[in-house]
Protein backbone atom coordinates (compact mmCIF):
# COMPACT_ATOMS: atom_id res chain seq x y z
CA UNK A 1 0.00 0.00 0.00
CA UNK A 2 2.85 2.36 0.89
CA UNK A 3 4.51 1.24 -2.32
CA UNK A 4 1.41 2.25 -4.35
CA UNK A 5 1.18 5.57 -2.57
CA UNK A 6 4.81 6.33 -3.43
CA UNK A 7 4.26 5.47 -7.08
CA UNK A 8 1.09 7.53 -7.11
CA UNK A 9 3.19 10.41 -5.80
CA UNK A 10 5.73 9.72 -8.53
CA UNK A 11 3.02 9.94 -11.19
CA UNK A 12 1.74 13.21 -9.73
CA UNK A 13 5.28 14.56 -9.49
CA UNK A 14 5.85 13.63 -13.12
CA UNK A 15 2.88 15.81 -14.00
CA UNK A 16 4.02 18.66 -11.73
CA UNK A 17 0.99 18.15 -9.50
CA UNK A 18 2.69 17.07 -6.26
CA UNK A 19 3.03 19.61 -3.44
CA UNK A 20 6.57 20.98 -3.05
CA UNK A 21 7.18 19.41 0.36
CA UNK A 22 6.26 15.95 -0.91
CA UNK A 23 8.33 16.57 -4.05
CA UNK A 24 11.39 17.23 -1.94
CA UNK A 25 11.02 14.02 0.06
CA UNK A 26 10.28 11.93 -3.00
CA UNK A 27 13.16 13.31 -5.04
CA UNK A 28 15.54 12.29 -2.26
CA UNK A 29 14.12 8.80 -2.44
CA UNK A 30 14.42 8.73 -6.25
CA UNK A 31 18.12 9.55 -5.91
CA UNK A 32 18.57 6.31 -3.98
CA UNK A 33 15.98 4.12 -5.69
CA UNK A 34 16.79 2.79 -9.16
CA UNK A 35 13.30 1.29 -9.51
CA UNK A 36 11.68 4.68 -9.09
CA UNK A 37 14.09 6.20 -11.60
CA UNK A 38 13.32 3.45 -14.10
CA UNK A 39 9.62 3.95 -13.55
CA UNK A 40 9.98 7.71 -14.08
CA UNK A 41 11.81 7.01 -17.32
CA UNK A 42 9.07 4.64 -18.49
CA UNK A 43 6.41 7.24 -17.67
CA UNK A 44 8.26 9.56 -20.04
CA UNK A 45 8.39 6.78 -22.61
CA UNK A 46 4.63 6.15 -22.36
CA UNK A 47 3.85 9.83 -22.91
CA UNK A 48 6.28 10.04 -25.83
CA UNK A 49 4.83 6.92 -27.45
CA UNK A 50 1.31 8.31 -27.09
CA UNK A 51 2.34 11.56 -28.77
CA UNK A 52 4.35 9.73 -31.46
CA UNK A 53 7.54 11.36 -30.21
CA UNK A 54 10.91 9.61 -30.43
CA UNK A 55 11.25 6.68 -28.06
CA UNK A 56 14.20 4.48 -27.15
CA UNK A 57 16.64 6.62 -29.14
CA UNK A 58 19.20 7.03 -26.38
CA UNK A 59 21.10 4.02 -25.15
CA UNK A 60 20.40 2.70 -21.68
CA UNK A 61 22.35 4.51 -18.97
CA UNK A 62 22.39 7.79 -20.90
CA UNK A 63 21.17 9.81 -17.89
CA UNK A 64 23.79 8.16 -15.70
CA UNK A 65 26.48 9.15 -18.17
CA UNK A 66 25.24 12.74 -18.18
CA UNK A 67 25.29 12.75 -14.39
CA UNK A 68 28.83 11.37 -14.39
CA UNK A 69 29.88 14.00 -16.95
CA UNK A 70 28.46 16.70 -14.69
CA UNK A 71 30.40 15.40 -11.73
CA UNK A 72 33.54 15.16 -13.86
CA UNK A 73 32.86 18.61 -15.32
CA UNK A 74 32.59 20.15 -11.87
CA UNK A 75 35.96 18.69 -10.99
CA UNK A 76 37.47 19.91 -14.23
CA UNK A 77 36.00 23.34 -13.62
CA UNK A 78 37.67 23.60 -10.23
CA UNK A 79 40.93 22.26 -11.61
CA UNK A 80 40.91 24.69 -14.50
CA UNK A 81 40.22 27.57 -12.12
CA UNK A 82 43.28 26.54 -10.09
CA UNK A 83 45.34 26.20 -13.22
CA UNK A 84 44.21 29.64 -14.34
CA UNK A 85 45.39 31.19 -11.07
CA UNK A 86 48.79 29.52 -11.35
CA UNK A 87 49.00 30.59 -14.99
CA UNK A 88 48.13 34.19 -14.09
CA UNK A 89 50.80 34.24 -11.40
CA UNK A 90 53.35 32.78 -13.83
CA UNK A 91 52.45 35.32 -16.51
CA UNK A 92 52.68 38.18 -14.01
CA UNK A 93 56.04 36.96 -12.73
CA UNK A 94 57.44 36.51 -16.23
CA UNK A 95 56.15 39.96 -17.19
CA UNK A 96 57.92 41.53 -14.21
CA UNK A 97 61.12 39.67 -15.04
CA UNK A 98 60.87 40.70 -18.70
CA UNK A 99 60.31 44.36 -17.84
CA UNK A 100 63.17 44.30 -15.33
CA UNK A 101 65.48 42.65 -17.87
CA UNK A 102 64.50 45.12 -20.56
CA UNK A 103 65.05 48.04 -18.20
CA UNK A 104 68.48 46.81 -17.19
CA UNK A 105 69.48 46.26 -20.81
CA UNK A 106 68.22 49.71 -21.75
CA UNK A 107 70.00 51.33 -18.83
CA UNK A 108 73.27 49.62 -19.72
CA UNK A 109 72.89 50.59 -23.33
CA UNK A 110 72.13 54.21 -22.47
CA UNK A 111 74.95 54.43 -19.97
CA UNK A 112 77.36 52.96 -22.49
CA UNK A 113 76.31 55.43 -25.17
CA UNK A 114 76.73 58.31 -22.72
CA UNK A 115 73.45 59.96 -23.66
CA UNK A 116 71.20 61.79 -21.25
CA UNK A 117 68.09 59.70 -21.57
CA UNK A 118 65.79 57.73 -19.35
CA UNK A 119 68.41 55.09 -18.81
CA UNK A 120 71.04 57.70 -17.97
CA UNK A 121 68.87 59.08 -15.27
CA UNK A 122 68.14 55.57 -14.06
CA UNK A 123 71.84 54.75 -13.80
CA UNK A 124 72.45 58.02 -12.05
CA UNK A 125 69.61 57.32 -9.68
CA UNK A 126 70.99 53.92 -8.81
CA UNK A 127 74.40 55.44 -8.40
CA UNK A 128 72.93 58.06 -6.11
CA UNK A 129 71.76 55.31 -3.80
CA UNK A 130 75.34 54.18 -3.34
CA UNK A 131 76.75 57.65 -3.33
CA UNK A 132 74.27 59.02 -0.86
CA UNK A 133 74.75 56.01 1.33
CA UNK A 134 78.48 56.62 1.35
CA UNK A 135 78.23 60.34 1.71
CA UNK A 136 75.52 60.68 4.29
CA UNK A 137 77.51 59.54 7.35
CA UNK A 138 80.23 62.08 6.63
CA UNK A 139 77.67 64.81 6.26
CA UNK A 140 75.89 63.80 9.43
CA UNK A 141 79.18 63.57 11.31
CA UNK A 142 80.14 67.17 10.50
CA UNK A 143 77.87 70.11 9.98
CA UNK A 144 80.45 72.20 8.13
CA UNK A 145 80.19 73.11 4.52
CA UNK A 146 83.50 71.40 3.91
CA UNK A 147 82.31 68.08 5.22
CA UNK A 148 79.19 68.44 3.14
CA UNK A 149 81.40 68.90 0.16
CA UNK A 150 83.26 65.76 1.15
CA UNK A 151 80.00 63.87 1.36
CA UNK A 152 79.02 65.26 -1.94
CA UNK A 153 82.36 64.34 -3.38
CA UNK A 154 82.07 60.78 -2.12
CA UNK A 155 78.69 60.53 -3.73
CA UNK A 156 80.11 62.05 -6.88
CA UNK A 157 83.02 59.62 -7.02
CA UNK A 158 80.69 56.72 -6.52
CA UNK A 159 78.60 57.99 -9.37
CA UNK A 160 81.58 58.47 -11.57
CA UNK A 161 82.73 54.96 -10.81
CA UNK A 162 79.34 53.68 -11.69
CA UNK A 163 79.33 55.52 -14.98
CA UNK A 164 82.87 54.49 -15.82
CA UNK A 165 82.05 50.89 -15.01
CA UNK A 166 79.09 51.13 -17.32
CA UNK A 167 81.10 52.84 -20.02
CA UNK A 168 83.66 50.05 -20.12
CA UNK A 169 81.02 47.61 -21.30
CA UNK A 170 81.21 47.50 -25.11
CA UNK A 171 78.01 47.79 -27.09
CA UNK A 172 77.23 44.70 -29.05
CA UNK A 173 75.16 44.08 -32.14
CA UNK A 174 72.52 41.42 -32.57
CA UNK A 175 75.17 38.89 -33.65
CA UNK A 176 77.14 39.40 -30.44
CA UNK A 177 79.94 41.30 -32.15
CA UNK A 178 80.83 44.73 -30.69
CA UNK A 179 79.37 47.56 -32.71
CA UNK A 180 82.63 49.46 -32.58
CA UNK A 181 86.14 48.47 -31.62
CA UNK A 182 87.07 52.08 -30.90
CA UNK A 183 87.68 52.67 -27.20
CA UNK A 184 84.65 54.58 -25.95
CA UNK A 185 85.22 58.10 -24.80
CA UNK A 186 84.98 58.69 -21.08
CA UNK A 187 81.78 60.20 -19.77
CA UNK A 188 81.53 63.88 -20.47
CA UNK A 189 81.78 66.37 -17.69
CA UNK A 190 78.28 67.51 -18.41
CA UNK A 191 76.79 64.09 -17.88
CA UNK A 192 78.76 63.52 -14.72
CA UNK A 193 77.75 66.93 -13.54
CA UNK A 194 74.14 66.19 -14.17
CA UNK A 195 74.34 62.98 -12.20
CA UNK A 196 76.18 64.71 -9.42
CA UNK A 197 73.49 67.35 -9.33
CA UNK A 198 70.90 64.62 -9.24
CA UNK A 199 72.69 63.04 -6.28
CA UNK A 200 72.82 66.38 -4.53
CA UNK A 201 69.22 67.07 -5.40
CA UNK A 202 68.03 63.80 -3.97
CA UNK A 203 70.20 64.04 -0.88
CA UNK A 204 68.96 67.61 -0.40
CA UNK A 205 65.38 66.39 -0.48
CA UNK A 206 65.93 63.21 1.49
CA UNK A 207 64.14 62.83 4.78
CA UNK A 208 67.31 61.26 6.19
CA UNK A 209 69.39 64.36 5.53
CA UNK A 210 69.86 66.94 8.25
CA UNK A 211 68.28 70.39 7.70
CA UNK A 212 71.71 72.01 7.55
CA UNK A 213 72.93 69.53 4.97
CA UNK A 214 69.83 70.10 2.88
CA UNK A 215 70.28 73.84 3.09
CA UNK A 216 73.96 73.62 2.10
CA UNK A 217 73.25 71.35 -0.82
CA UNK A 218 70.43 73.55 -2.04
CA UNK A 219 72.74 76.54 -1.76
CA UNK A 220 75.35 74.67 -3.80
CA UNK A 221 72.75 73.81 -6.39
CA UNK A 222 71.59 77.42 -6.64
CA UNK A 223 75.13 78.71 -6.82
CA UNK A 224 75.84 76.34 -9.68
CA UNK A 225 73.11 78.05 -11.66
CA UNK A 226 75.59 80.42 -13.23
CA UNK A 227 77.60 77.44 -14.54
CA UNK A 228 80.89 78.78 -13.22
CA UNK A 229 82.18 75.48 -11.88
CA UNK A 230 79.91 72.91 -13.51
CA UNK A 231 79.19 72.78 -17.19
CA UNK A 232 75.44 72.71 -17.89
CA UNK A 233 74.10 69.36 -19.02
CA UNK A 234 73.29 69.02 -22.69
CA UNK A 235 69.66 68.18 -22.15
CA UNK A 236 69.22 71.13 -19.86
CA UNK A 237 70.88 73.42 -22.39
CA UNK A 238 68.68 72.09 -25.13
CA UNK A 239 65.55 72.50 -23.05
CA UNK A 240 66.30 75.93 -21.63
CA UNK A 241 69.70 77.60 -21.19
CA UNK A 242 68.62 79.55 -18.18
CA UNK A 243 67.03 76.75 -16.25
CA UNK A 244 68.50 75.84 -12.85
CA UNK A 245 70.12 72.50 -12.13
CA UNK A 246 67.10 71.31 -10.20
CA UNK A 247 64.86 72.63 -12.91
CA UNK A 248 66.99 70.84 -15.50
CA UNK A 249 66.43 67.60 -13.67
CA UNK A 250 62.73 68.17 -13.64
CA UNK A 251 62.86 69.05 -17.33
CA UNK A 252 64.80 65.87 -18.09
CA UNK A 253 62.28 63.75 -16.19
CA UNK A 254 59.45 65.52 -17.90
CA UNK A 255 61.06 65.08 -21.30
CA UNK A 256 61.68 61.40 -20.69
CA UNK A 257 58.21 60.68 -19.40
CA UNK A 258 56.36 60.40 -22.71
CA UNK A 259 58.92 57.99 -24.05
CA UNK A 260 58.35 55.48 -21.25
Amino acid sequence: MIHDERESQLSAMFDGELPATECELLSRRIDRDDNLRARWSRYALIGAAMRSEPVATARSGFARRVSAALRGGDTRLRASRGRKMVLNAAVSASLVVAVAGLSITLLRYTAASGGVANGGIGVAASGVGAGAGAGAPAAVGSESVASTTVGSTVGRSALTNSVVASDTTPRRGSNGEPVSYVTPASASTGNTALRTELADFIVAHSQYSSPLMRRNLLSALISSEDGSDIAPPRAAVTASPSVSAAGALHATFAASAPGQ
Binding site: D15, S41, Y43, L45, V55, A56, T57, A58, R59
Partner: protein
Protein backbone atom coordinates in the same frame (compact mmCIF):
# COMPACT_ATOMS: atom_id res chain seq x y z
CA UNK B 1 1.06 24.33 -20.42
CA UNK B 2 1.01 21.85 -17.58
CA UNK B 3 4.06 19.99 -18.80
CA UNK B 4 5.95 23.27 -18.53
CA UNK B 5 4.80 23.72 -14.93
CA UNK B 6 6.07 20.24 -14.15
CA UNK B 7 9.43 20.99 -15.74
CA UNK B 8 9.61 24.37 -14.10
CA UNK B 9 9.17 22.78 -10.70
CA UNK B 10 12.12 20.48 -11.44
CA UNK B 11 14.14 23.39 -12.82
CA UNK B 12 13.56 25.43 -9.66
CA UNK B 13 14.78 22.52 -7.58
CA UNK B 14 17.90 22.22 -9.68
CA UNK B 15 18.46 25.94 -9.26
CA UNK B 16 18.21 25.44 -5.50
CA UNK B 17 21.02 22.91 -5.73
CA UNK B 18 19.18 19.57 -6.10
CA UNK B 19 21.11 17.94 -8.89
CA UNK B 20 18.94 14.81 -8.65
CA UNK B 21 16.07 16.84 -10.10
CA UNK B 22 18.17 17.41 -13.21
CA UNK B 23 18.53 13.64 -13.64
CA UNK B 24 14.76 13.46 -13.86
CA UNK B 25 14.72 16.11 -16.58
CA UNK B 26 17.39 14.17 -18.47
CA UNK B 27 15.38 10.94 -18.15
CA UNK B 28 12.34 12.78 -19.41
CA UNK B 29 13.91 14.34 -22.49
CA UNK B 30 16.84 12.10 -23.36
CA UNK B 31 15.13 10.37 -26.30
CA UNK B 32 13.76 13.58 -27.74
CA UNK B 33 17.12 15.33 -27.56
CA UNK B 34 19.06 12.41 -29.03
CA UNK B 35 16.56 12.15 -31.85
CA UNK B 36 16.81 15.90 -32.45
CA UNK B 37 20.60 15.79 -32.63
CA UNK B 38 20.43 12.76 -34.91
CA UNK B 39 18.90 14.99 -37.58
CA UNK B 40 22.25 16.81 -37.77
CA UNK B 41 24.70 14.03 -36.99
CA UNK B 42 23.68 10.87 -38.73
CA UNK B 43 25.84 8.66 -36.53
CA UNK B 44 23.91 7.57 -33.38
CA UNK B 45 27.04 7.31 -31.23
CA UNK B 46 28.07 10.87 -32.18
CA UNK B 47 24.52 12.04 -31.62
CA UNK B 48 24.56 10.65 -28.09
CA UNK B 49 27.84 12.36 -27.34
CA UNK B 50 26.50 15.67 -28.60
CA UNK B 51 23.21 15.20 -26.75
CA UNK B 52 25.19 14.54 -23.58
CA UNK B 53 27.19 17.70 -24.19
CA UNK B 54 23.95 19.63 -24.70
CA UNK B 55 22.58 18.39 -21.38
CA UNK B 56 25.81 19.35 -19.62
CA UNK B 57 25.71 22.82 -21.21
CA UNK B 58 22.07 23.22 -20.23
CA UNK B 59 22.84 22.26 -16.65
CA UNK B 60 25.61 24.85 -16.44
CA UNK B 61 23.38 27.51 -17.98
CA UNK B 62 20.40 26.62 -15.79
CA UNK B 63 21.08 29.33 -13.17
CA UNK B 64 20.34 31.86 -15.94
CA UNK B 65 17.10 30.15 -16.98
CA UNK B 66 14.26 32.42 -15.87
CA UNK B 67 11.35 30.37 -17.11
CA UNK B 68 10.24 32.85 -19.79
CA UNK B 69 9.97 29.93 -22.20
CA UNK B 70 9.28 26.26 -21.62
CA UNK B 71 12.27 24.27 -20.40
CA UNK B 72 12.20 21.99 -23.41
CA UNK B 73 12.12 24.96 -25.83
CA UNK B 74 15.20 26.30 -24.10
CA UNK B 75 16.89 22.88 -24.07
CA UNK B 76 15.95 22.43 -27.72
CA UNK B 77 17.85 25.60 -28.69
CA UNK B 78 20.92 24.50 -26.75
CA UNK B 79 20.81 21.05 -28.36
CA UNK B 80 20.45 22.53 -31.86
CA UNK B 81 23.37 24.91 -31.33
CA UNK B 82 25.54 22.15 -29.88
CA UNK B 83 24.71 19.90 -32.83
CA UNK B 84 25.49 22.66 -35.34
CA UNK B 85 28.80 23.38 -33.65
CA UNK B 86 29.67 19.69 -33.68
CA UNK B 87 28.77 19.51 -37.34
CA UNK B 88 30.91 22.56 -38.14
CA UNK B 89 33.82 21.06 -36.18
CA UNK B 90 33.41 17.83 -38.08
CA UNK B 91 33.46 19.69 -41.41
CA UNK B 92 36.59 21.56 -40.36
CA UNK B 93 38.25 18.28 -39.44
CA UNK B 94 36.86 15.64 -41.79
CA UNK B 95 39.85 13.33 -41.37
CA UNK B 96 39.24 12.73 -37.69
CA UNK B 97 35.57 12.20 -38.42
CA UNK B 98 36.37 9.52 -40.96
CA UNK B 99 38.71 7.90 -38.46
CA UNK B 100 36.00 8.00 -35.82
CA UNK B 101 33.47 6.43 -38.11
CA UNK B 102 35.66 3.63 -39.34
CA UNK B 103 37.55 3.14 -36.10
CA UNK B 104 34.52 3.01 -33.81
CA UNK B 105 34.12 0.10 -31.50
CA UNK B 106 31.98 -2.64 -33.04
CA UNK B 107 29.91 -3.23 -29.94
CA UNK B 108 29.12 0.47 -29.55
CA UNK B 109 28.27 0.69 -33.20
CA UNK B 110 25.96 -2.28 -32.87
CA UNK B 111 24.08 -0.67 -30.00
CA UNK B 112 24.00 2.57 -31.98
CA UNK B 113 22.52 0.82 -34.99
CA UNK B 114 20.03 -0.96 -32.80
CA UNK B 115 18.84 2.33 -31.33
CA UNK B 116 18.98 4.39 -34.49
CA UNK B 117 15.27 4.81 -35.30
CA UNK B 118 16.07 4.88 -38.99
CA UNK B 119 17.65 1.44 -39.05
CA UNK B 120 15.31 -1.55 -39.44
CA UNK B 121 16.14 -2.63 -35.87
CA UNK B 122 15.47 0.83 -34.49
CA UNK B 123 12.23 1.18 -36.37
CA UNK B 124 11.13 -2.23 -35.18
CA UNK B 125 11.86 -1.35 -31.54
CA UNK B 126 10.03 1.97 -31.80
CA UNK B 127 7.04 0.32 -33.41
CA UNK B 128 7.06 -2.39 -30.79
CA UNK B 129 6.94 0.13 -27.97
CA UNK B 130 4.19 2.20 -29.60
CA UNK B 131 2.09 -0.85 -30.32
CA UNK B 132 2.44 -2.05 -26.77
CA UNK B 133 1.48 1.33 -25.33
CA UNK B 134 -1.45 1.82 -27.69
CA UNK B 135 -2.69 -1.70 -27.09
CA UNK B 136 -2.51 -1.17 -23.34
CA UNK B 137 -4.41 2.12 -23.62
CA UNK B 138 -7.09 0.41 -25.66
CA UNK B 139 -7.58 -2.11 -22.88
CA UNK B 140 -7.96 0.52 -20.16
CA UNK B 141 -11.31 1.26 -18.57
CA UNK B 142 -13.00 4.31 -20.08
CA UNK B 143 -12.40 6.64 -17.10
CA UNK B 144 -8.68 5.77 -16.90
CA UNK B 145 -8.20 6.09 -20.67
CA UNK B 146 -9.93 9.48 -20.76
CA UNK B 147 -7.85 10.76 -17.86
CA UNK B 148 -4.49 9.69 -19.35
CA UNK B 149 -5.41 10.95 -22.82
CA UNK B 150 -6.48 14.36 -21.51
CA UNK B 151 -3.26 14.56 -19.56
CA UNK B 152 -0.71 13.28 -22.11
CA UNK B 153 -2.26 14.37 -25.39
CA UNK B 154 -4.19 17.49 -24.40
CA UNK B 155 -1.75 18.64 -21.73
CA UNK B 156 -4.51 19.50 -19.28
CA UNK B 157 -3.88 20.04 -15.56
CA UNK B 158 -5.42 17.77 -12.94
CA UNK B 159 -7.82 20.54 -12.07
CA UNK B 160 -8.93 20.96 -15.68
CA UNK B 161 -9.35 17.21 -16.07
CA UNK B 162 -11.36 17.10 -12.85
CA UNK B 163 -13.64 19.83 -14.18
CA UNK B 164 -13.94 18.07 -17.51
CA UNK B 165 -14.68 14.64 -15.98
CA UNK B 166 -16.74 16.12 -13.14
CA UNK B 167 -14.78 14.39 -10.38
CA UNK B 168 -12.41 15.45 -7.55
CA UNK B 169 -8.75 16.22 -8.31
CA UNK B 170 -7.70 13.30 -6.09
CA UNK B 171 -9.66 10.94 -8.30
CA UNK B 172 -7.95 12.31 -11.39
CA UNK B 173 -4.58 11.75 -9.79
CA UNK B 174 -5.55 8.19 -8.93
CA UNK B 175 -6.94 7.46 -12.42
CA UNK B 176 -3.85 8.77 -14.18
CA UNK B 177 -1.60 6.79 -11.89
CA UNK B 178 -3.58 3.58 -12.45
CA UNK B 179 -3.58 4.13 -16.21
CA UNK B 180 0.18 4.53 -16.20
CA UNK B 181 0.64 1.50 -14.02
CA UNK B 182 -1.43 -0.62 -16.38
CA UNK B 183 0.54 0.52 -19.43
CA UNK B 184 3.84 0.11 -17.61
CA UNK B 185 2.91 -3.37 -16.51
CA UNK B 186 2.16 -4.28 -20.11
CA UNK B 187 5.50 -2.85 -21.26
CA UNK B 188 7.38 -4.86 -18.65
CA UNK B 189 5.52 -8.00 -19.61
CA UNK B 190 6.47 -7.55 -23.26
CA UNK B 191 10.05 -6.48 -22.74
CA UNK B 192 10.98 -8.54 -19.69
CA UNK B 193 8.90 -11.64 -20.30
CA UNK B 194 9.12 -11.65 -24.07
CA UNK B 195 12.36 -9.92 -25.00
CA UNK B 196 14.15 -9.16 -21.73
CA UNK B 197 15.05 -5.64 -22.81
CA UNK B 198 13.35 -3.44 -20.23
CA UNK B 199 16.72 -2.01 -19.31
CA UNK B 200 17.00 -0.71 -22.87
CA UNK B 201 14.03 1.53 -22.24
CA UNK B 202 15.52 3.55 -19.39
Amino acid sequence: MVADASDLSLVRRVQRGERGAYDLLVLKYQHKVVKLVLRYLRNPADAEDVAQEAFVKAYRALPQFRGDSAFYTWLYRIAINTAKNALAARERNPVSYELDVHGSDDSTDMVGRLKDPETPEGLALTEEIRDTVNHAIGELPEDLRTAIVLRELEGMSYEEIAASMDCPVGTVRSRIFRAREAIDRRLREVFDGGLGRTEELV
